[in-house]
């Protein structure tokens, strides 16, 4: 992977837990090989690359190794083999001082159960990373106050974590992770501990913040809906391996494995698939009438599709090129395919 544009990437990453000498780790190492020596692989031969400004969501059920993967990427735990590159530097080869310096300037992380320091106020929690890097008191308080109002907690600066609700605590956690203006933002199941209504609200809040700060993001979740709602790209993990890493649309339309297909089966495709994905080259067919925007989801333009008399509807991509969308195909996605017995 020579993608110079990638901010953080990992190559053939393995994390194996267990006693004593590690077995040789390569593509052909199987679970049975490891178990024979009493080892358990949490991350198996994972290679990923995340571009600047991109948001990668790592999705997997509990025990799939997603949390271990993100901890390897942040070097909270050391990988067993393989390399993690951050802006071209090998994370594993860094000294402790270099690593601390990197975290103080480049990395921020949000935790599932917030990880707030119970003896510090919201303000002091947000100021903590600034304090660690030796910033003076006045400027770190100014910065922390600003961050707290950014996440909508103005007026709660003096509250202690236990005096805040779960959603508010996670807002503090988010403010803290952004206080040092990191380039790379790790979020480890940030909304899993929240109840469904608050979770939805926090996802909206997150999308708002994401648009404002433009970071490279690694987001962990076990919630597939959350993943397709937020992601630029999704990596689906199972038993420590990445089953598929692709855009939400491609994952829904073309699941690479039966396991991925199981997740996508219950998803409302019309909310994921955009008009552009169904757009085919014109190939000499006639193009008539108004064109649809390629980045609209089918759900957003459902009414037009249903009522439009044309069999092939023109779709205009962002670069101005025009293709044609088969209306029947779009209707299949919107309404589901015809079932033979009801069609009769």
């Amino acid at each position: 992977m020579t993608d110079t544009d990638s901010v953080i990437s990992c190559h053939n990453l393995w994390k194996v837990f267990g006693p004593g000498q590690m077995p040789e780790l390569n593509e052909r190492t199987t679970t049975q090989d490891l178990q024979a020596g009493g080892h358990i692989a949490a991350v198996r031969n994972v290679s990923l690359s995340i571009k600047r400004g991109e948001m990668l969501v790592v999705m997997g059920l509990s025990g799939s190794g997603k949390s271990t993967l993100v901890r390897c990427l942040a070097r909270l735990i050391d990988a067993t083999s393989g390399a993690v590159m951050v802006e071209g530097r090998d994370l594993g080869a860094m000294t402790e001082a270099q690593l601390i310096d990197l975290r103080r300037r480049k990395m921020g992380m949000v935790f599932q159960s917030f990880g707030l320091l119970p003896h510090r106020t919201a303000l002091e929690n947000v100021a903590f990373p600034l304090e660690m890097r030796g910033q003076d008191r006045a400027s770190r308080i100014a910065r922390a106050t600003e961050m707290l109002s950014l996440v909508g907690l103005k007026g709660r600066e003096g509250y202690f974590p236990r005096e805040l609700s779960g959603g508010q605590q996670q807002r503090v956690g988010i403010a803290r992770s952004l206080a040092v203006e990191p380039d790379i933002w790790f979020l480890d199941e940030p909304f899993s501990a929240l109840d469904p209504l608050i979770r939805r609200e926090m996802q909206d809040e997150f999308l708002r913040l994401k648009a404002m700060v433009a970071k490279t993001i690694v987001f962990i979740t076990h919630d597939f809906d959350e993943a397709i709602r937020l992601a630029d790209r999704i990596a689906i993990m199972k038993d420590g391996m990445v089953e598929q890493c692709d855009t939400p649309e491609r994952i829904v339309m073309a699941p690479a494995t039966p396991y991925v297909a199981k997740f996508t089966s219950a998803v409302d495709r019309s909310r994921v698939v955009r008009a552009g994905a169904l757009s085919r080259p014109v190939n000499g067919r006639s193009v008539e009438g108004d064109a649809l925007a390629a980045n609209a989801t089918l759900h957003q333009i459902a009414r037009i599709i249903a009522c439009d008399p044309r069999d092939f509807i023109p779709v205009r991509a962002a670069d101005g090129s025009v293709g044609l969308m088969d209306r029947a195909e779009a209707l299949d996605i919107l309404l589901g395919p015809d079932l033979p017995e009801t069609a009769a």
Binding site: A74, D101, R104, S113, L117, P118, H119, E131, M132, F160
Partner: protein, 653 residues
């Protein structure tokens, strides 16, 4: 038997067979006592290992050749300096900084303000009231002598505990070394600590402070380790991701996050310090303990009752305050609060202190209550006790006669009659039954050294006293616990009473029993029984209370009546907790039997007192280890049994 039926069959079947064989052998040895060779009755002289001489040699070597004396001197000089400062401030001893004594009204006001800050109005009234009581009753000097030691010893012991606890957390080697040491240290009787200190430091307040520090460190180490382990991993990770260095992570993340456990450790240190300071009167520590000891020996019940009340009040106060501090949660101030709103207690304290100094300037009564100005309850208390005694005397006398003639003396003779070989085989059998060969070996490892130390008879007397006391404690504590646990409110009240009783220094329990029974074996047993009943009561209530409600509901829906509920559901599930209670009860009674030695017993405790007065380190430590090993033996058996029960219950559920 139920335990046996529950545990997995094949492994435990063999274990049961072996254990039965061993127990049978023990019974045979006991019945055939008269035809046994002498060597099986008592370990022959030739086999007795001179542990005491070895320890003495080791100590002499450490003291004279390793220059350990210089080290202890340096440490004790530091302690002495602290003691002088507090002594000057609290009761005006003529030492640097020569500011004291602080008027008692000021100290009472300080205590009340602190009480208010930590626990609201009630704790404030209790704190202020305690100090007013001390001053008005004319016990100021003694109480301050006692407190001045705690004020110096507790912080040093907290620091030491934090350091060692952190070390044990950081290096697993340190933990592996410390763990067994702590186990032994926490089962060594108080006196065992005093003897080496007397040898190195001498007697007096300094020695009292140092023995207090050593005695109160172990729980601090344990709780520091526990607290550091219990910090949620995400908090540590968030610290790391914030770019904290190791030192920043320790001081600003781990230690503050472990605050509650550490403060509970501080609470333990303070309570242990108080218990030890009172006992340190045996090595010339002035203060409440010494006064109590003198008065008890002179059988002045009324006056010792007064002192006892003070000690109890101080114990409860220190416990409540430090617990309140441990469980206090930070609360934010309203935005834009003024200095006055943010620091009400500081300002109140300043105002009260100023008033206090003004009062003491007006009249010397507010600085120090002279002996002749002091109130006393001794007269009425003595009169009341006399009336009580004339009423209960016939009963108490009969009870004493009955216990001594029909229970205590026959039992003691029986324990002494038992051949040592039979006891050792019996112990091994019990061990085997509980935990197989490993446990049998552990039990023997604790029992054999006692036999080889040459103190077998004394140890058997201690065992007999503990056996009698714990049996009586079970007979009293179990039914009381069952009654208390019947209603939730009653159970909560009973637990509060138990908690309070457990804060009392053990010495206190001697006052009422000496009052009732005088100075003899029965008084000792009575004191031990009272002391040992508390944990049994407590764990009975807790065991019954902690039965999962859905099991109770399931039993109710199956139509269980109250009796069936108790015997078929609650008690079987409470057994592991009850065993833990019995274990603590044995530990408590061992400690108490040894302490009670000064009112006349013939067991290990009495010998320990002798070793203390002749400053014989070797003998004292051998006796101390003998006591500790009895405790650890019981501990191993009961806790293993309890664990097995929990496992079998868990497997069944």
């Amino acid at each position: 038997m139920t335990a046996a039926a529950l545990s997995p069959a094949p492994a435990s079947f063999d274990r049961r067979r072996t254990a039965q064989a061993l127990l049978l052998l023990a019974a045979l040895l006991a019945t055939g006592r008269n035809i046994l060779p002498e060597a099986l009755l008592r370990p022959p002289e030739a086999l007795v290992i001179p542990f005491a001489a070895w320890i003495n040699a080791a100590f002499a070597f450490a003291r004279d050749d390793l220059g350990l004396m210089a080290l202890t001197r340096a440490f004790s000089d530091l302690v002495e300096f602290g003691l002088d400062v507090t002594a000057n401030l609290l009761y005006g001893k003529a030492r640097w900084p020569r500011l004291g004594p602080i008027p008692w009204v000021v100290i009472a006001a300080t205590a009340a303000t602190l009480g208010h800050a930590l626990g609201g109005r009630r704790l404030a009234a209790f704190a202020g009231g305690t100090f007013v009581w001390i001053a008005v009753m004319g016990q100021w000097q003694w109480a301050m002598e006692t407190l001045s030691v705690i004020v110096v010893a507790a912080p040093l012991s907290v620091l030491l505990g934090l350091a060692l606890g952190t070390l044990a957390w950081r290096f697993s080697v340190a933990e592996r070394v410390l763990n067994p040491l702590l186990n032994i240290a926490q089962s060594l009787p108080h006196f065992a600590y005093m003897i080496p200190v007397v040898v190195f430091i001498g007697i007096g307040p300094k020695a009292g402070a140092i023995v207090t520090i050593i005695f109160s460190v172990p729980p601090m180490i344990r709780l520091t380790l526990l607290g550091l382990r219990a910090v949620p991993p995400e908090i540590i990770e968030s610290g790391k991701m914030s770019g904290a260095t190791r030192w920043q992570l320790m001081t600003r993340v781990r230690l503050p996050a472990a605050r509650t456990e550490i403060l509970i450790g501080v609470n333990q240190v303070i309570m242990q310090s108080l218990a030890m300071v009172v006992l340190a009167s045996f090595i010339g520590m002035p203060g409440l303990g010494q006064k109590l000891l003198q008065l008890l020996q002179a059988l002045k019940i009324g006056l010792s009752f007064e002192i006892g009340t003070t000690i109890v009040l101080l114990a409860i106060l220190l416990d409540r305050m430090s617990k309140a501090a441990a469980h206090r949660q930070p609360v934010h101030h309203a935005a834009g609060a003024t200095f006055r709103q943010r620091h009400p207690h500081l300002l109140a304290w300043l105002a009260l202190t100023a008033i206090g100094f003004a009062l003491s300037a007006l009249h010397p009564y507010f600085t120090e209550v002279e002996r002749k100005q002091a109130l006393s309850l001794a007269g009425p208390v003595d009169a009341g006790v006399d009336v009580l005694l004339t009423v209960v005397a016939p009963l108490a006398d009969w009870l004493r006669w009955f216990l001594i003639t029909w229970v205590l003396i026959p039992l003691r003779d029986a324990f002494l009659w038992l051949p040592a070989s039979a006891v050792l085989v019996f112990v091994a059998g019990i061990g085997w039954r509980v935990g197989g060969r490993r446990s049998a070996l552990v039990c023997l490892a604790f029992a054999l050294p006692i036999a080889l130390s040459g103190w077998w008879d004394r140890a058997m007397i201690t065992v007999y006293m503990v056996t009698v006391s714990v049996t009586l404690a079970l007979l009293i504590g179990l039914p009381l616990g069952l009654i208390a646990a019947a209603r939730p409110k009653r159970a909560a009240r009973m637990l509060l009473v138990c908690d309070t009783l457990q804060t009392f220094p053990s010495f206190i329990y001697l006052i009422p029993v000496i009052m009732l029974f005088g100075v003899n074996d029965v008084a000792v047993i009575a004191a031990v029984v009272v002391f040992a009943t508390v944990p049994i009561l407590r764990y009975t209530v807790e065991g019954l209370r902690s039965v999962p409600p859905e099991l109770v509901e399931a039993a109710l829906m199956s139509g269980a009546n109250p009796r069936q509920m108790l015997w078929q559901v609650k008690l079987p599930l409470a057994v592991p907790t009850l065993l833990v209670g019995a274990n603590q009860s044995i530990m408590f009674s061992l400690f108490m039997v040894i302490i009670a030695a000064f009112i006349g017993t013939q067991d290990l405790g009495q010998e320990m007192q002798r070793a203390l007065s002749s400053a014989d380190v070797g003998k004292g430590l051998v006796l101390g280890f003998a006591v500790a090993f009895i405790g650890l033996l019981a501990d191993h058996v009961l806790l293993t049994w309890s664990r097995n029960r929990v496992e079998s219950l868990g497997a069944r559920r």
